[in-house]
Amino acid sequence: MPESAGAAPGPHPAVEELPGGVRAAVEAILMVADRPVTEERFASVLQVPQEEVLGVLQDLRREYDGRGDDDGYTGVGARSTGPTPPRGFELRSIAGGWRIFSRKHFAAVVADFVLDGQTARLSQAALETLTVIAYRQPVSRARVSAVRGVNVDSVVRTLLQRGLVVEVENDPETGAVLYGTTALFLERLGLDGVDDLPRIAPHLPGPESLGEYDETTY
Protein backbone atom coordinates (compact mmCIF):
# COMPACT_ATOMS: atom_id res chain seq x y z
CA MET A 1 0.00 0.00 0.00
CA PRO A 2 1.18 3.54 -0.63
CA GLU A 3 2.37 5.75 2.19
CA SER A 4 -0.41 6.84 4.48
CA ALA A 5 -1.37 10.49 4.45
CA GLY A 6 -1.27 12.42 7.70
CA ALA A 7 -4.55 13.81 8.95
CA ALA A 8 -3.75 17.35 7.99
CA PRO A 9 -6.78 19.39 7.10
CA GLY A 10 -6.80 21.63 4.08
CA PRO A 11 -6.23 20.89 0.42
CA HIS A 12 -5.71 17.25 -0.30
CA PRO A 13 -5.18 15.24 -3.47
CA ALA A 14 -8.27 14.77 -5.59
CA VAL A 15 -10.11 11.78 -4.20
CA GLU A 16 -10.32 10.29 -7.67
CA GLU A 17 -6.61 9.66 -7.53
CA LEU A 18 -6.60 7.80 -4.24
CA PRO A 19 -6.90 4.01 -4.28
CA GLY A 20 -10.57 3.13 -4.44
CA GLY A 21 -11.50 6.61 -5.66
CA VAL A 22 -14.71 8.37 -4.76
CA ARG A 23 -16.35 5.11 -3.81
CA ALA A 24 -13.78 4.37 -1.10
CA ALA A 25 -13.76 8.01 0.05
CA VAL A 26 -17.52 7.82 0.58
CA GLU A 27 -17.03 4.63 2.58
CA ALA A 28 -14.31 6.27 4.67
CA ILE A 29 -16.68 9.08 5.65
CA LEU A 30 -19.49 6.64 6.39
CA MET A 31 -17.18 4.94 8.89
CA VAL A 32 -16.89 8.02 11.10
CA ALA A 33 -20.39 9.45 10.67
CA ASP A 34 -22.55 9.38 13.78
CA ARG A 35 -25.73 10.43 11.98
CA PRO A 36 -27.08 10.17 8.45
CA VAL A 37 -24.92 12.13 5.99
CA THR A 38 -26.63 14.03 3.19
CA GLU A 39 -25.53 13.79 -0.42
CA GLU A 40 -24.82 17.55 -0.32
CA ARG A 41 -22.40 17.05 2.53
CA PHE A 42 -20.55 14.26 0.71
CA ALA A 43 -20.41 16.38 -2.42
CA SER A 44 -19.01 19.40 -0.62
CA VAL A 45 -16.43 17.50 1.40
CA LEU A 46 -15.28 15.41 -1.56
CA GLN A 47 -15.67 18.18 -4.14
CA VAL A 48 -17.52 15.86 -6.45
CA PRO A 49 -20.88 16.48 -8.16
CA GLN A 50 -23.87 15.47 -6.12
CA GLU A 51 -25.18 13.16 -8.84
CA GLU A 52 -21.93 11.24 -8.80
CA VAL A 53 -22.19 10.87 -5.03
CA LEU A 54 -25.73 9.59 -5.33
CA GLY A 55 -24.66 7.08 -7.95
CA VAL A 56 -21.83 5.81 -5.75
CA LEU A 57 -24.11 5.51 -2.72
CA GLN A 58 -26.70 3.55 -4.64
CA ASP A 59 -24.01 1.26 -6.03
CA LEU A 60 -22.60 0.68 -2.57
CA ARG A 61 -26.03 -0.09 -1.17
CA ARG A 62 -26.61 -2.64 -3.90
CA GLU A 63 -23.18 -4.11 -3.46
CA TYR A 64 -23.57 -4.52 0.32
CA ASP A 65 -26.92 -6.18 -0.20
CA GLY A 66 -25.24 -8.78 -2.37
CA ARG A 67 -26.34 -9.38 -5.88
CA GLY A 68 -27.62 -12.07 -8.11
CA ASP A 69 -26.19 -12.91 -11.50
CA ASP A 70 -27.74 -10.21 -13.55
CA ASP A 71 -28.72 -7.09 -11.68
CA GLY A 72 -27.19 -4.47 -13.92
CA TYR A 73 -24.36 -3.66 -11.53
CA THR A 74 -22.56 -0.53 -12.67
CA GLY A 75 -20.26 0.02 -9.72
CA VAL A 76 -17.02 1.91 -9.98
CA GLY A 77 -15.02 -0.91 -8.51
CA ALA A 78 -15.04 -3.03 -11.63
CA ARG A 79 -15.86 -6.34 -9.93
CA SER A 80 -16.39 -9.27 -12.14
CA THR A 81 -20.01 -10.24 -11.99
CA GLY A 82 -21.29 -13.29 -10.22
CA PRO A 83 -23.62 -13.99 -7.31
CA THR A 84 -22.43 -12.43 -4.05
CA PRO A 85 -23.73 -13.01 -0.56
CA PRO A 86 -24.84 -9.92 1.32
CA ARG A 87 -22.42 -8.23 3.65
CA GLY A 88 -23.05 -8.07 7.38
CA PHE A 89 -23.90 -4.41 7.11
CA GLU A 90 -26.19 -2.32 4.98
CA LEU A 91 -26.24 1.23 3.71
CA ARG A 92 -29.56 2.97 4.17
CA SER A 93 -31.02 6.19 2.95
CA ILE A 94 -32.77 7.47 6.01
CA ALA A 95 -33.80 10.76 7.66
CA GLY A 96 -32.52 12.66 4.64
CA GLY A 97 -29.06 11.09 4.62
CA TRP A 98 -27.06 7.89 4.39
CA ARG A 99 -25.79 5.75 7.21
CA ILE A 100 -24.32 2.30 7.80
CA PHE A 101 -26.30 -0.20 9.88
CA SER A 102 -25.66 -3.77 10.88
CA ARG A 103 -27.83 -6.09 8.82
CA LYS A 104 -31.00 -6.97 10.62
CA HIS A 105 -30.59 -10.78 10.56
CA PHE A 106 -27.72 -10.36 12.96
CA ALA A 107 -29.61 -8.40 15.61
CA ALA A 108 -29.23 -11.20 18.13
CA VAL A 109 -25.45 -11.39 17.87
CA VAL A 110 -24.93 -7.65 17.52
CA ALA A 111 -27.01 -6.49 20.48
CA ASP A 112 -24.30 -7.49 22.96
CA PHE A 113 -21.79 -5.16 21.38
CA VAL A 114 -23.87 -2.02 21.41
CA LEU A 115 -22.97 -0.59 24.74
CA ASP A 116 -25.39 2.18 25.27
CA GLY A 117 -27.65 2.23 22.30
CA GLN A 118 -30.33 0.08 23.84
CA THR A 119 -33.66 1.74 23.94
CA ALA A 120 -36.46 0.47 26.07
CA ARG A 121 -39.63 -0.26 24.23
CA LEU A 122 -42.18 2.54 24.15
CA SER A 123 -45.33 2.07 26.17
CA GLN A 124 -48.64 1.88 24.37
CA ALA A 125 -49.48 5.38 25.58
CA ALA A 126 -46.15 6.76 24.37
CA LEU A 127 -46.58 5.07 21.02
CA GLU A 128 -50.05 6.50 20.46
CA THR A 129 -48.98 9.95 21.58
CA LEU A 130 -45.98 9.79 19.28
CA THR A 131 -48.27 8.79 16.41
CA VAL A 132 -50.59 11.72 16.94
CA ILE A 133 -47.65 14.13 17.11
CA ALA A 134 -46.13 12.63 13.97
CA TYR A 135 -49.29 13.07 11.94
CA ARG A 136 -50.50 16.36 13.38
CA GLN A 137 -47.22 18.22 13.79
CA PRO A 138 -46.72 20.93 14.79
CA VAL A 139 -49.23 20.22 17.50
CA SER A 140 -49.85 21.28 21.09
CA ARG A 141 -50.14 18.89 24.01
CA ALA A 142 -53.72 20.01 24.47
CA ARG A 143 -54.65 18.88 20.98
CA VAL A 144 -52.91 15.55 21.43
CA SER A 145 -54.81 15.14 24.69
CA ALA A 146 -58.06 15.85 22.89
CA VAL A 147 -57.38 13.12 20.35
CA ARG A 148 -56.32 10.58 22.95
CA GLY A 149 -58.85 11.52 25.58
CA VAL A 150 -56.26 11.60 28.36
CA ASN A 151 -53.65 13.95 29.69
CA VAL A 152 -50.40 13.36 27.80
CA ASP A 153 -48.00 15.59 29.73
CA SER A 154 -45.84 12.90 31.26
CA VAL A 155 -45.80 10.85 28.09
CA VAL A 156 -44.66 13.85 26.05
CA ARG A 157 -41.92 14.41 28.62
CA THR A 158 -40.70 10.87 28.03
CA LEU A 159 -40.74 11.35 24.27
CA LEU A 160 -38.74 14.57 24.66
CA GLN A 161 -36.16 12.79 26.80
CA ARG A 162 -35.91 10.04 24.26
CA GLY A 163 -35.29 12.63 21.57
CA LEU A 164 -38.19 11.41 19.46
CA VAL A 165 -40.09 14.69 19.63
CA VAL A 166 -38.96 18.24 20.17
CA GLU A 167 -40.51 21.62 20.86
CA VAL A 168 -40.62 23.23 17.45
CA GLU A 169 -42.39 26.53 17.94
CA ASN A 170 -45.06 28.39 19.83
CA ASP A 171 -48.57 28.72 18.59
CA PRO A 172 -48.82 32.31 17.34
CA GLU A 173 -52.29 32.69 18.81
CA THR A 174 -52.34 30.79 22.08
CA GLY A 175 -48.62 30.77 22.79
CA ALA A 176 -48.85 27.03 23.47
CA VAL A 177 -45.71 25.00 22.79
CA LEU A 178 -46.03 22.99 19.59
CA TYR A 179 -44.27 19.66 19.17
CA GLY A 180 -42.89 17.87 16.16
CA THR A 181 -40.86 14.74 15.48
CA THR A 182 -37.06 14.63 15.15
CA ALA A 183 -34.52 13.16 12.77
CA LEU A 184 -33.96 10.45 15.36
CA PHE A 185 -37.64 9.56 15.07
CA LEU A 186 -37.25 9.13 11.32
CA GLU A 187 -34.12 7.09 11.83
CA ARG A 188 -35.76 4.80 14.36
CA LEU A 189 -38.62 4.21 11.95
CA GLY A 190 -36.35 3.81 8.94
CA LEU A 191 -38.05 6.69 7.13
CA ASP A 192 -36.48 9.23 4.84
CA GLY A 193 -38.91 11.99 5.81
CA VAL A 194 -42.20 12.65 7.50
CA ASP A 195 -43.87 12.37 4.10
CA ASP A 196 -42.93 8.71 4.07
CA LEU A 197 -45.05 7.90 7.10
CA PRO A 198 -47.61 5.24 6.25
CA ARG A 199 -50.74 6.91 5.00
CA ILE A 200 -53.34 7.38 7.65
CA ALA A 201 -56.17 8.02 5.20
CA PRO A 202 -57.32 4.40 4.95
CA HIS A 203 -57.72 4.39 8.71
CA LEU A 204 -59.16 7.84 9.08
CA PRO A 205 -62.49 8.86 7.64
CA GLY A 206 -62.35 12.48 6.58
CA PRO A 207 -65.15 14.90 7.38
CA GLU A 208 -66.71 14.27 3.97
CA SER A 209 -67.07 10.55 4.55
CA LEU A 210 -68.48 10.92 8.02
CA GLY A 211 -71.91 11.14 6.50
CA GLU A 212 -71.60 7.59 5.22
CA TYR A 213 -70.47 6.34 8.57
CA ASP A 214 -73.52 7.92 10.01
CA GLU A 215 -75.74 5.96 7.68
CA THR A 216 -74.07 2.64 8.19
CA THR A 217 -73.40 2.67 11.86
CA TYR A 218 -76.50 4.18 13.32
Binding site: A7, V32, A111, Q124, A125, E128, R148, G149, H203, Y218
Partner: protein
Protein backbone atom coordinates in the same frame (compact mmCIF):
# COMPACT_ATOMS: atom_id res chain seq x y z
CA UNK B 1 -82.77 -5.38 30.17
CA UNK B 2 -81.01 -8.64 29.58
CA UNK B 3 -82.07 -11.94 31.05
CA UNK B 4 -80.30 -13.54 33.96
CA UNK B 5 -78.40 -16.00 31.77
CA UNK B 6 -77.18 -13.30 29.45
CA UNK B 7 -76.06 -11.21 32.32
CA UNK B 8 -74.08 -14.19 33.58
CA UNK B 9 -72.16 -14.66 30.35
CA UNK B 10 -71.72 -10.99 29.85
CA UNK B 11 -70.15 -10.68 33.25
CA UNK B 12 -67.88 -13.60 32.58
CA UNK B 13 -66.69 -12.25 29.26
CA UNK B 14 -66.40 -8.78 30.63
CA UNK B 15 -64.21 -9.99 33.47
CA UNK B 16 -61.56 -11.48 31.24
CA UNK B 17 -61.62 -8.68 28.70
CA UNK B 18 -61.52 -5.97 31.27
CA UNK B 19 -58.67 -7.60 33.09
CA UNK B 20 -56.65 -7.92 29.91
CA UNK B 21 -57.59 -4.41 28.99
CA UNK B 22 -56.43 -2.95 32.22
CA UNK B 23 -52.88 -4.10 31.70
CA UNK B 24 -52.37 -1.70 28.81
CA UNK B 25 -55.18 0.66 29.43
CA UNK B 26 -54.37 3.88 27.69
CA UNK B 27 -57.37 6.10 28.05
CA UNK B 28 -61.12 6.32 27.97
CA UNK B 29 -61.38 6.04 24.20
CA UNK B 30 -59.36 2.89 24.42
CA UNK B 31 -61.82 1.26 26.73
CA UNK B 32 -64.75 2.64 24.84
CA UNK B 33 -63.44 1.23 21.59
CA UNK B 34 -62.83 -2.06 23.26
CA UNK B 35 -66.37 -2.16 24.53
CA UNK B 36 -67.85 -1.17 21.22
CA UNK B 37 -65.65 -3.43 19.13
CA UNK B 38 -66.90 -6.39 21.09
CA UNK B 39 -70.25 -5.45 19.59
CA UNK B 40 -68.44 -5.13 16.27
CA UNK B 41 -68.76 -1.39 16.27
CA UNK B 42 -72.46 -1.67 15.91
CA UNK B 43 -73.53 1.34 17.87
CA UNK B 44 -77.16 0.46 18.03
CA UNK B 45 -79.31 1.14 20.96
CA UNK B 46 -79.22 -2.44 22.18
CA UNK B 47 -75.51 -2.81 21.86
CA UNK B 48 -74.98 0.34 23.80
CA UNK B 49 -77.37 -0.71 26.49
CA UNK B 50 -75.47 -3.96 26.89
CA UNK B 51 -72.17 -2.24 26.83
CA UNK B 52 -73.38 0.13 29.48
CA UNK B 53 -74.61 -2.75 31.58
CA UNK B 54 -71.31 -4.53 31.28
CA UNK B 55 -69.50 -1.37 32.11
CA UNK B 56 -71.52 -0.73 35.22
CA UNK B 57 -71.17 -4.37 36.20
CA UNK B 58 -67.44 -4.01 35.85
CA UNK B 59 -67.37 -0.94 38.05
CA UNK B 60 -69.41 -2.66 40.73
CA UNK B 61 -67.33 -5.79 40.63
CA UNK B 62 -64.08 -3.87 40.77
CA UNK B 63 -65.29 -2.00 43.78
CA UNK B 64 -66.50 -5.19 45.42
CA UNK B 65 -63.28 -7.14 44.91
CA UNK B 66 -60.66 -4.48 45.40
CA UNK B 67 -62.50 -2.30 47.83
CA UNK B 68 -61.09 0.71 46.13
CA UNK B 69 -59.14 1.55 43.03
CA UNK B 70 -56.71 4.10 41.76
CA UNK B 71 -58.24 7.49 41.35
CA UNK B 72 -56.97 8.14 37.83
CA UNK B 73 -58.37 4.86 36.64
CA UNK B 74 -61.69 5.62 38.21
CA UNK B 75 -61.90 9.05 36.67
CA UNK B 76 -61.09 7.65 33.27
CA UNK B 77 -63.88 5.16 33.69
CA UNK B 78 -66.18 8.02 34.49
CA UNK B 79 -65.23 9.77 31.29
CA UNK B 80 -66.07 6.58 29.44
CA UNK B 81 -69.36 6.35 31.20
CA UNK B 82 -70.16 9.92 30.30
CA UNK B 83 -69.14 9.36 26.71
CA UNK B 84 -71.20 6.21 26.45
CA UNK B 85 -74.18 7.91 27.93
CA UNK B 86 -73.77 10.87 25.62
CA UNK B 87 -73.85 8.49 22.70
CA UNK B 88 -76.78 6.72 24.16
CA UNK B 89 -78.66 9.91 24.82
CA UNK B 90 -77.99 11.08 21.31
CA UNK B 91 -79.35 7.80 20.01
CA UNK B 92 -82.66 8.49 21.69
CA UNK B 93 -83.32 11.38 19.37
CA UNK B 94 -85.49 10.21 16.49
CA UNK B 95 -83.19 10.75 13.53
CA UNK B 96 -85.87 12.08 11.23
CA UNK B 97 -87.53 14.36 13.70
CA UNK B 98 -85.14 17.23 14.09
CA UNK B 99 -87.28 20.09 15.20
CA UNK B 100 -85.52 22.66 17.24
CA UNK B 101 -82.01 23.95 17.54
CA UNK B 102 -81.23 21.92 20.61
CA UNK B 103 -81.90 18.73 18.68
CA UNK B 104 -79.59 19.86 15.92
CA UNK B 105 -76.92 20.67 18.47
CA UNK B 106 -77.32 17.26 19.99
CA UNK B 107 -77.00 15.60 16.62
CA UNK B 108 -73.86 17.59 15.94
CA UNK B 109 -72.49 16.60 19.28
CA UNK B 110 -73.18 12.98 18.43
CA UNK B 111 -71.35 13.28 15.12
CA UNK B 112 -68.44 15.01 16.76
CA UNK B 113 -68.21 12.39 19.41
CA UNK B 114 -68.32 9.63 16.90
CA UNK B 115 -65.81 11.40 14.68
CA UNK B 116 -63.45 11.69 17.62
CA UNK B 117 -63.84 8.03 18.31
CA UNK B 118 -63.12 7.11 14.71
CA UNK B 119 -60.13 9.41 14.70
CA UNK B 120 -58.81 7.81 17.83
CA UNK B 121 -59.27 4.38 16.34
CA UNK B 122 -57.38 5.46 13.23
CA UNK B 123 -54.45 6.70 15.28
CA UNK B 124 -54.48 3.51 17.28
CA UNK B 125 -54.30 1.45 14.09
CA UNK B 126 -51.43 3.50 12.75
CA UNK B 127 -49.63 3.37 16.09
CA UNK B 128 -49.61 -0.39 15.67
CA UNK B 129 -48.06 -0.02 12.20
CA UNK B 130 -45.41 2.29 13.63
CA UNK B 131 -44.73 -0.13 16.48
CA UNK B 132 -44.06 -2.90 13.96
CA UNK B 133 -41.69 -0.65 12.07
CA UNK B 134 -39.89 0.34 15.25
CA UNK B 135 -39.47 -3.31 16.11
CA UNK B 136 -38.14 -4.17 12.70
CA UNK B 137 -35.81 -1.19 12.62
CA UNK B 138 -34.65 -2.01 16.14
CA UNK B 139 -32.94 -5.06 14.68
CA UNK B 140 -30.58 -2.81 12.72
CA UNK B 141 -27.94 -1.03 14.73
CA UNK B 142 -26.38 2.13 13.34
CA UNK B 143 -22.63 2.42 13.21
CA UNK B 144 -21.85 4.95 15.90
CA UNK B 145 -18.28 4.71 17.06
CA UNK B 146 -15.94 7.10 18.82
CA UNK B 147 -13.68 9.22 16.67
CA UNK B 148 -10.05 8.28 16.61
CA UNK B 149 -7.83 10.58 18.63
CA UNK B 150 -6.01 11.66 15.49
CA UNK B 151 -9.22 13.42 14.44
CA UNK B 152 -10.35 14.76 17.79
CA UNK B 153 -6.94 16.37 18.18
CA UNK B 154 -7.74 18.48 15.14
CA UNK B 155 -10.80 20.07 16.73
CA UNK B 156 -10.40 23.80 17.27
CA UNK B 157 -9.02 24.69 20.67
CA UNK B 158 -11.86 25.01 23.13
CA UNK B 159 -12.72 28.54 24.23
CA UNK B 160 -13.53 28.29 27.91
CA UNK B 161 -14.69 31.43 29.65
CA UNK B 162 -16.52 30.12 32.71
CA UNK B 163 -15.23 30.54 36.23
CA UNK B 164 -16.10 27.78 38.72
CA UNK B 165 -18.73 30.12 40.23
CA UNK B 166 -20.36 30.77 36.85
CA UNK B 167 -20.30 27.08 36.15
CA UNK B 168 -21.94 26.38 39.49
CA UNK B 169 -24.60 29.02 38.87
CA UNK B 170 -25.46 27.37 35.57
CA UNK B 171 -25.56 23.98 37.28
CA UNK B 172 -27.96 25.34 39.85
CA UNK B 173 -30.24 26.63 37.11
CA UNK B 174 -30.15 23.35 35.21
CA UNK B 175 -30.55 21.07 38.21
CA UNK B 176 -33.44 22.96 39.75
CA UNK B 177 -36.63 21.09 38.84
CA UNK B 178 -38.62 23.08 36.36
CA UNK B 179 -42.08 24.24 37.13
CA UNK B 180 -44.32 22.46 34.66
CA UNK B 181 -46.62 24.79 32.85
CA UNK B 182 -50.12 23.38 32.95
CA UNK B 183 -51.66 22.07 29.78
CA UNK B 184 -55.05 23.50 30.51
CA UNK B 185 -55.82 27.17 30.43
CA UNK B 186 -56.05 28.49 33.97
CA UNK B 187 -59.54 29.40 35.09
CA UNK B 188 -58.66 30.77 38.50
CA UNK B 189 -59.07 34.31 37.25
CA UNK B 190 -62.66 33.70 36.30
CA UNK B 191 -65.06 34.85 38.93
CA UNK B 192 -68.21 33.01 38.12
CA UNK B 193 -70.95 33.59 40.64
CA UNK B 194 -71.11 30.65 42.99
CA UNK B 195 -74.43 28.89 43.06
CA UNK B 196 -75.11 26.45 45.84
CA UNK B 197 -77.02 23.24 45.37
CA UNK B 198 -78.32 23.57 48.90
CA UNK B 199 -79.73 27.05 48.29
CA UNK B 200 -81.42 25.96 45.11
CA UNK B 201 -82.87 22.91 46.81
CA UNK B 202 -84.43 25.25 49.33
CA UNK B 203 -85.89 27.31 46.49
CA UNK B 204 -87.33 24.16 44.96
CA UNK B 205 -88.80 23.07 48.24
CA UNK B 206 -90.50 26.42 48.62
CA UNK B 207 -91.97 26.08 45.16
CA UNK B 208 -93.07 22.43 45.48
CA UNK B 209 -94.12 21.96 49.09
CA UNK B 210 -97.38 23.87 48.78
CA UNK B 211 -98.58 20.90 46.68
CA UNK B 212 -99.28 20.16 43.04
CA UNK B 213 -96.97 18.95 40.27
CA UNK B 214 -94.76 21.42 38.50
CA UNK B 215 -92.75 21.02 35.28
CA UNK B 216 -89.03 21.67 35.20
CA UNK B 217 -89.80 24.67 33.05
CA UNK B 218 -91.93 26.16 35.78
CA UNK B 219 -89.32 25.33 38.42
CA UNK B 220 -86.64 27.23 36.57
CA UNK B 221 -88.74 30.12 35.38
CA UNK B 222 -87.19 32.63 37.71
CA UNK B 223 -83.61 31.45 37.18
CA UNK B 224 -81.23 34.34 36.68
CA UNK B 225 -78.73 32.39 34.56
CA UNK B 226 -78.12 29.08 32.90
CA UNK B 227 -75.89 28.16 35.80
CA UNK B 228 -78.82 28.49 38.16
CA UNK B 229 -80.87 26.21 35.88
CA UNK B 230 -78.12 23.62 35.95
CA UNK B 231 -77.73 23.75 39.71
CA UNK B 232 -81.46 23.63 40.21
CA UNK B 233 -81.50 20.48 38.07
CA UNK B 234 -78.77 18.95 40.22
CA UNK B 235 -80.67 19.91 43.34
CA UNK B 236 -83.71 18.18 41.94
CA UNK B 237 -81.72 14.98 41.46
CA UNK B 238 -80.45 15.21 45.02
CA UNK B 239 -83.96 15.68 46.31
CA UNK B 240 -85.11 12.69 44.26
CA UNK B 241 -82.36 10.55 45.71
CA UNK B 242 -83.38 11.57 49.19
CA UNK B 243 -86.97 10.67 48.38
CA UNK B 244 -88.13 14.25 48.80
CA UNK B 245 -89.62 14.52 45.32
CA UNK B 246 -91.12 12.16 42.75
CA UNK B 247 -91.27 12.41 38.99
CA UNK B 248 -94.26 11.71 36.81
CA UNK B 249 -94.22 11.30 33.09
CA UNK B 250 -97.42 10.45 31.15
CA UNK B 251 -95.72 9.17 28.01
CA UNK B 252 -92.18 8.82 26.63
CA UNK B 253 -90.71 12.24 25.87
CA UNK B 254 -93.70 14.00 27.32
CA UNK B 255 -93.24 16.64 29.95
CA UNK B 256 -91.85 15.54 33.30
CA UNK B 257 -93.74 16.71 36.38
CA UNK B 258 -92.20 17.06 39.80
CA UNK B 259 -94.14 16.52 43.02
CA UNK B 260 -93.05 17.05 46.63
CA UNK B 261 -93.18 13.81 48.61
CA UNK B 262 -90.85 14.61 51.46
CA UNK B 263 -91.53 15.67 54.97
CA UNK B 264 -92.30 19.24 55.72
CA UNK B 265 -89.49 21.37 57.02
CA UNK B 266 -85.91 21.52 55.83
CA UNK B 267 -84.96 18.11 54.51
CA UNK B 268 -81.93 19.27 52.57
CA UNK B 269 -79.09 19.38 55.12
CA UNK B 270 -77.98 15.86 54.08
CA UNK B 271 -76.58 17.38 50.93
CA UNK B 272 -73.10 18.52 51.90
CA UNK B 273 -71.67 15.01 52.33
CA UNK B 274 -72.46 14.11 48.78
CA UNK B 275 -69.62 14.43 46.33
CA UNK B 276 -70.92 15.89 43.15
CA UNK B 277 -67.52 17.36 42.47
CA UNK B 278 -64.58 15.38 41.22
CA UNK B 279 -61.52 16.94 42.72
CA UNK B 280 -62.16 16.65 46.40
CA UNK B 281 -61.16 20.23 47.08
CA UNK B 282 -63.82 20.63 49.70
CA UNK B 283 -66.19 22.90 47.86
CA UNK B 284 -68.14 20.10 46.26
CA UNK B 285 -71.47 21.40 47.24
CA UNK B 286 -70.86 24.62 45.37
CA UNK B 287 -70.95 24.58 41.62
CA UNK B 288 -69.07 27.14 39.60
CA UNK B 289 -69.32 27.96 35.94
CA UNK B 290 -66.73 25.44 34.82
CA UNK B 291 -68.44 22.35 36.13
CA UNK B 292 -69.90 20.11 33.53
CA UNK B 293 -68.85 16.78 32.12
CA UNK B 294 -67.66 15.22 35.32
CA UNK B 295 -70.81 15.96 37.22
CA UNK B 296 -72.93 14.82 34.33
CA UNK B 297 -71.49 11.34 34.46
CA UNK B 298 -72.41 10.82 38.05
CA UNK B 299 -76.01 11.85 37.72
CA UNK B 300 -76.66 10.25 34.35
CA UNK B 301 -76.13 6.80 35.74
CA UNK B 302 -79.17 7.11 37.97
CA UNK B 303 -81.23 8.14 35.00
CA UNK B 304 -79.97 5.28 32.81
CA UNK B 305 -82.66 2.81 33.69
CA UNK B 306 -85.51 5.08 32.70
CA UNK B 307 -84.96 4.95 28.95
CA UNK B 308 -84.19 1.27 28.44
Amino acid sequence: MTTAVEVGTAVHVARTVFEVQLTNFSGPFDLLLNLISRRELDITEIALAQVTDEFIAHIRRAQATDGEWKLDEASEFLVVAATLLDLKAARLLPAGAVEDEEDVALLEARDLLFARLLQYRAFKDVARVLADRLDEEGARYPRDVALEPEFTRLLPELLWTHSPEEFAALALKVLTPRQEEPTAVGIEHLHAPVVSVRDQAAVLQDLLEPGGALSFGRLTEGAASRLVVVVRFLALLELFRDGAVSFEQAAPLSELLVRWTGRAGRSVPSLPEDGTGHDGTGHDERVTGDSGDGDGAGTDTTEGGADA
